[in-house]
């Protein structure tokens, strides 16, 4: 018996429409920071790397979804084995150069690792990127009509915004959780993380996906970096400098989660636009 037969959730995530469908649908809603990030990476790596990057991002996303975020595609170690382990990523891993301390699990595409190191070590480069993305955030906030009335920086401030954004997408509020169910029997659950430091350092959201028949076996997304492996660049919505960028981040992540919900609906209907 395979793992997918053990848990209905694993069976459904195996039918995921994939990174490109999810990314395109999310972009059609007016969100673009992830696209700008991918463009800058492509610019850094060179056009000749586009196909490798796209394939790398596709397969990392699929492994992340199929392992419910419980594994590291760059080290090829998984707590939950993806049903379709990527041969392409296995080959990149086998061919990678020696690991440079202290980076134990670098990205498997060389230019991505070079970009990472430049961001990590080169303060000037990092600050230029930061300024550019904060400008893009401001423009996107204005374009999407983001207002941050009532935002003081506390985690609990997120509740009315999650309520407004979630209800608009047909998530039903149950206490301090917002839930919707798709036609594959999966429940998509949004929570606000109010524990720990009462102030925000990123959008204080926790997402869970589970099958209605087995609520305890869940794809839990407490660290929003998981979403950035499903759609590269959405981590930019977690870079918050002020009230508007926090609200933009909350809206962006909730809308993306809703897109993921639709990308896990019955495949024949929903992946057609891909």
């Amino acid at each position: 018996m395979s793992l997918a037969d053990d848990h209905p959730l694993l069976h459904v995530v195996h039918t995921w429409c994939g990174r490109r469908f999810t990314q395109n649908t999310f972009s059609e809603l007016g969100f673009s920071l992830h696209l700008r990030w991918q463009e800058r990476i492509t610019e850094f790596c060179g056009q000749h790397q586009v196909s490798i990057l796209d394939r790398y991002w596709d397969e990392v996303a699929r492994e992340t979804m199929e392992s419910l975020g419980q594994g590291n595609p760059n080290t090829r170690e998984f707590s939950i084995q993806p049903k379709n382990r990527s041969i392409f990523l296995d080959e990149l891993f086998a061919a990678r150069a020696l690991v440079e301390p202290p980076f134990k699990s670098p990205p498997l595409v060389k230019c991505l690792f070079e970009h990472y190191k430049k961001t990590y070590f080169d303060n000037e480069f990092r600050q230029a990127e930061l300024v550019a993305f904060e400008k893009l955030q401001q423009e996107e906030s204005a374009r999407l009509g983001i207002t941050a009335v009532g935002w003081t920086g506390r985690k609990k401030d997120a509740v009315p915004f999650v309520d407004a954004f979630g209800l608009r997408l047909n998530f039903q509020r149950q206490g301090n959780r917002w839930r919707k169910r798709n036609d594959n029997g999966l429940v998509f659950d949004i929570g606000v993380d109010t524990a720990g430091n009462p102030f925000c350092t990123k959008p204080p959201l926790i997402f869970r996906i589970f099958h209605a028949n087995e609520p305890r076996y869940a794809f839990e997304i407490e660290n929003l970096d998981v979403l950035a492996r499903l759609v590269p660049g959405v981590g930019m919505y977690g870079r918050c400098a002020g009230p508007e960028s926090y609200v933009l981040g909350i809206k962006g992540y909730i809308e993306l989660f809703d897109v993921i919900a639709s990308s896990l609906e019955k495949r024949a209907m929903n992946c057609a636009s891909n």
């Binding site: 590291n72 070590f121 918050c240």
Partner: protein
Amino acid sequence: MHQHCEPVDPFTHVHEAQGQVYFGALQSLFRSTPILGSILQIAAVASLCTSAVGVCAAVVATLSSAFVAGVTSGNLGAALKAGLITAVTIVAFNVVGGMTNVAEGGQFSLLNHTPAAFGTGAYAFNVAGHAAVGCLTTMASGGKCGSGALAGGAGAAATPLIQTASNGSFVGGLAMSSVVGGVASVAGGGKFGNGAVTAAFGYLFNSGAGSISRMLDGQDAHRALQQWLQRQGIDGLFTEASSDGLGTSFWGRVDIGNAISGEIWEIKPNNPVQLFLARVMAEFYAATADGPTQYDAGGNGLPLPTGALNTVRGSYTYTNAGDGAILWSYNNANQSYTFSPSTSPKFVLPPITPIPVIP
């Protein structure tokens, strides 16, 4: 006649017997060397509440007093009485601290106390208040008013000097206050241990306080750096998270982690005790990380802001002390609403006037 026997679990029986032996030994120790009980009470607060959270210190102080009295006397009533007296003492010291704020022209607060400047009316009021509390609580415990008053008053009087000498160290200040209070108590005909505890509690809950303010400053300093790091857009870097998003979870919320380098850092105030704690916590999180990625205490490579980070509440600078410790310091010397080594009033000895030599 049939005699009913209760079955005896030999394992439980042996453990009960061992427990009685340990209790008896501890009781003998506390009775023969009473100072040990006092040291335990002060050390419990110092070791368990080194981040100086007021509620933690109050609870630990009350429980440790009750424990020591209970073990020493073997009497539950004595334990409850000691705990109650400690709780009342804590409230009383906090009231004195709040009233000292008012004497200095500030607002009454049970939790936030501004240290009174040496030689001012507020300073005199604070010393007198501590003496009064010391007197009353010592009498309630069956001791002499004079020794309690001296212990409480001397501890408060020496606070400006202690704060300067301890360089802001919570544990150092506590130890110095204890010694001053103990010596003063002996001078008044009381026991060293009782005076040490009175003065230590006075320091904890009043003169050395501002603990809530410091806790809020700590949260603020954490938030400022974590938000700054999030904004840098470095892949794999996560803050205040109990998982790395790659299947590895931690026993608590890690302040800063890097999934690509497998490093963990803890943010703490800049003093030797907290440096030690930061390193211990980083090692703890690394050792207990559960998942495919191996973690270690963080190295020196983590990008940090080159200048101070300013928030509505304050301004902070950060240093990477290595081995997983990121230390924050106050940048603005005018953060008057908080206790800090740089803002506490300096104790300056009056100038020595040379005695004119009479020919």
